[in-house]
């Protein structure tokens, strides 16, 4: 498990931040990609910073434009997707299973 890195709030976008975010996002970036990201994201984030000019004290967050609360459906069983139709998109299949690389290291720890 990666440690959580804390950067000062005012840190400008730099290579370390980009590499940390790429690890979180499960993306692999070349050195050229990293430099391009520093430039692009730095410029975009400067624009995003303009929201600091707004006073949002006491304003409740709005995560969703519609005032819907959890809508529950009746607990009626219905057919699932046929397994074949799902498995045909799997990259690697062994019998009824999707084959994946080893998840756990020897001894059972990750």
């Amino acid at each position: 498990m990666e440690s959580v890195l804390h950067f000062p709030v005012e840190a400008s976008f730099n290579v370390d931040i980009v590499r940390h975010i790429a690890r979180l996002a499960r993306l692999r970036l070349t050195d050229a990609d990293v430099n391009a990201m520093v430039h692009d994201l730095g410029s975009i984030v400067s624009h995003l910073d303009r929201l600091r000019a707004l006073n949002v004290d006491g304003v409740a967050p709005l995560a969703h434009p519609l005032p819907i609360v959890n809508r529950l459906d009746p607990d009626d069983p219905s057919p699932s997707l046929p397994i074949e139709s799902v498995m045909r998109n799997a990259p690697s299949v062994e019998g009824p299973f999707i084959a994946v690389p080893k998840v756990l290291a020897e001894g059972g720890s990750s």
Binding site: R26, L27, L41, L51, P101
Partner: protein, 495 residues
């Protein structure tokens, strides 16, 4: 409402209203309608690249079946025989659903999106799927992994995005209508750039089941058509509650086509915001807006000044929220159950598989937005970006609520400029800033429509310019009525 029984002279360029009438009256066969589209696609698509896949055999076979039922006097649906294209990020069991991405190249969807299933129930014919920016992230369709799409009005210019293929297909006469999706303007802006009509329904009006998720609180499927009436017909077909989408409003389908037949009860109040009349707007955009305002006045509407000072904060709010939601939604593309899986070298681990599959499968704009979204959600930054943007979202919505207390619809430009040249906006931020007039409708969940309203003469090219009407959430029928009135006025003024 128009009533047509005579066959259209050019079925591929006809409206849905005309086509379905002619097919139902049997003055035109569904097979002839499909053949006309297929011929136009064969002639024009190699240069424009609007379509990634064309389902010629299935479309002709389905058309023949509909003609057979009509010949026996059997009941057929309201869209029987009408060929429609669908954007690559809308699931369909025909062909493959790739969302413009190499990651999903070859993906065989096990189900149809609800919107597609409803079109099929009404007898529509799915003609093929159109190219789009990868995972709907883009404003130019230059980020499509299967090649860019070209604007039918000028081959060196973008058609807009992300639904550029859908808009180009309709504008070029390859099909009467197409479905697109709109998260920050991706139906309306390409409609404006290509000179056709594009509707973003209110958030929750149309089921998102089967729409490849980009930003779940912002995405909506919407029709791109040749007329407001056609947009109303398609909205009626695809809208309404869906047990498969918990974010879909608990309402029946819209009755917009019927609403268009009735005159409004009271003269319309059309709001115009000075924040939409920026000096940075292209002169042709300003002129089109001026013409639209005049048309409203001539039709008896009153023009009301409304104040939307948060307009310029929409881009920052949108790109924080959309990128954050995208980073979460695109976590499912891990190379395990479907999509691209990288071939691992000996000694490489599961984490290597995730990282390599994603980095090989995703293009530069998708990687950029995933990075941005991960950043604004990460420890130490979530408060100042994501949580702050959620609060600004509420402020933007409340600002629109105050405006709509004084007007029925808000009229403004769809985009600050006409279509730009391919490759011109290589700086990501400059492309984001072009969405200034469209993102706020997604942030607030409003309905909004772009109509053709003028032309720009730029570097020897004659480019379409659109105007946008925005309406309150769930007022889609009223919005379409206002749009139809404006459309008549603009055509009468010699558009």
């Amino acid at each position: 409402m128009t009533r047509h029984a005579d066959p259209p002279a050019d079925p591929a360029r006809a409206t849905i209203a005309h086509l379905r009438g002619a097919i139902a009256q049997r003055s035109l066969s569904a097979v002839e309608a499909v053949r006309a589209c297929l011929e136009r696609i064969a002639a024009l698509n190699p240069a424009i690249n609007a379509f990634r896949e064309v389902y010629a055999d299935e479309a002709l076979s389905r058309a023949a079946a509909i003609d057979a039922r009509l010949s026996k006097g059997e009941r057929v649906g309201l869209l029987a025989g009408v060929p429609i294209a669908i954007k690559d990020n809308i699931a369909c069991t025909l062909g493959t659903t790739a969302a413009g991405s190499q990651f999903l190249a070859g993906y065989d969807s096990p189900f149809d999106a609800t919107a597609v299933a409803r079109l099929l129930e009404e007898g529509a014919i799915i003609l093929g799927r159109t190219n789009c920016d990868e995972f709907a992230m883009g404003s130019s369709t230059e980020y499509c992994a299967f090649g860019p799409v070209r604007n039918p009005h000028a081959a060196d210019r973008v058609p807009g995005g992300s639904s550029g293929g859908s808009a180009a297909a309709v504008a070029a006469g390859m099909c009467p209508a197409a479905l697109g999706s709109d998260t920050g303007g991706s139906v309306r802006q390409p409609a404006a750039f290509c000179g056709v009509t594009g509707l973003k329904p209110s958030y929750g009006r149309v089921s998102r089941w089967g729409l490849v998720a980009f930003a779940s609180s912002l995405d909506q499927i919407g029709p791109i058509t040749r007329s407001v009436e056609d947009a109303a017909i398609l909205l009626d077909a695809i809208s309404g509650r869906d047990g498969l989408d918990a974010t879909c409003a608990d309402l029946g389908p819209s009755r917009a086509a019927a609403a268009l037949a009735h005159a409004p009860d009271a003269p319309l109040r059309v709001g115009v915001a000075r924040q939409h009349c920026s000096n940075d707007n292209h002169p042709a955009v300003a002129a089109a807006l001026g013409r639209a305002i005049e048309c409203c006045r001539t039709a008896g509407a009153s023009i009301v000044e409304v104040d939307l000072p948060l307009t310029d904060y929409g881009i920052a709010t949108y790109y924080i929220l959309a990128a954050a939601e995208a980073s979460s939604n695109l976590a499912r593309y891990d190379g395990i159950r479907f999509g691209r899986r990288a071939a691992l070298d000996p000694g490489e681990t599961l984490i290597d598989l995730y990282e390599r599959s994603r980095s090989e499968g995703f293009g530069p704009e998708v990687r950029r937005r995933i990075m941005l979204g991960t950043y604004v959600l990460s420890a130490g930054y979530a408060d100042q970006y994501y949580h702050r943007a959620l609060k600004v979202r509420r402020l933007i919505k409340e600002e629109f609520d105050r405006a709509f207390a004084r007007c029925d619809v808000i009229l403004g430009p769809t985009a600050p400029t006409p279509a730009w040249k391919m490759g011109e906006k290589h700086d990501p931020l400059s492309m984001y800033l072009a969405d200034v007039y469209t993102v706020n409708a997604n942030i607030a969940g409003l309905c909004a429509i772009s109509l053709p309203a003028g032309w720009a003469d730029v570097d020897g090219a004659r480019l379409p310019v659109g105007v946008q009407l925005q309406g309150q959430s769930m007022n889609d029928e009223s919005l379409l009525c206002a749009a139809a009135a404006l459309e008549s006025g603009l055509m009468a003024s010699g558009l």
